[in-house]
Symmetry: C2
Subunit: 140 residues, 2 copies
Amino acid sequence: MFATPDEAEHAFYEALEQGDYVRLMQVWADDDDIVCIHPGGMRLQGHDAVQQSWRQILDAGPVHIRPMSPVVMTSMLSVTHIVIEQVTVRTRDGARLSYGYATNVFHKGPTGWRMVLHHAAPAPHTAAEFDLHDMPDMLH
Amino acid sequence: MFATPDEAEHAFYEALEQGDYVRLMQVWADDDDIVCIHPGGMRLQGHDAVQQSWRQILDAGPVHIRPMSPVVMTSMLSVTHIVIEQVTVRTRDGARLSYGYATNVFHKGPTGWRMVLHHAAPAPHTAAEFDLHDMPDMLH
């Protein structure tokens, strides 16, 4: 049981360093809404999908990552959205679509809900098919 | 004033679509702790840096992004960390360093603080110099 977010984060990177998959999964909430996006990878949702990805990674050996220079945002009322961004680039040859993932965090303050974080990154080409496959209504 | 995070997010993408830089910055909290990471870009912190980056982008014309398939995480007690990840890859020729940005979100539940989001993406090569320049203590 982690008493602070810092403790949880410390345990996360330590578990990677030690290749300790069981410890790593203790850091994650036991929840079907958790999300993990590895660099260049798909958006994985739910405990099973996240667990499987880390098992695969740690099966190949420990991962040496040092978290540095943190920016910390605390809020009593906060909502996090993880969205697929469909980007339309208009070229001479017509419109071209590409995809990204964005984490948007909103805090509620005296002036209502405002954005405090936009973290966007390229998504794999398969993101569109995979992520939108089960929700065709989102395409219209 | 946005009554919900959804309204704020809608206004965000609408402002991009319309190339409306003033409207866009109304969505962001007026705070020195806000963070924006454009795809492949540096971690920008603070209202001025974020504002400047969007002005530059929108000066080139509107941006057509459609947010789809959102995963929404709500929590009464939530902390967001945006860290630089220094990744050590051990090769035959010795250790090689690379850098990424990760957004880690933690929620407080009945079992203490647990991770609910890890969104990691590659950072530009210059991330290390730039981000760590003013905090040499983080390097040790």
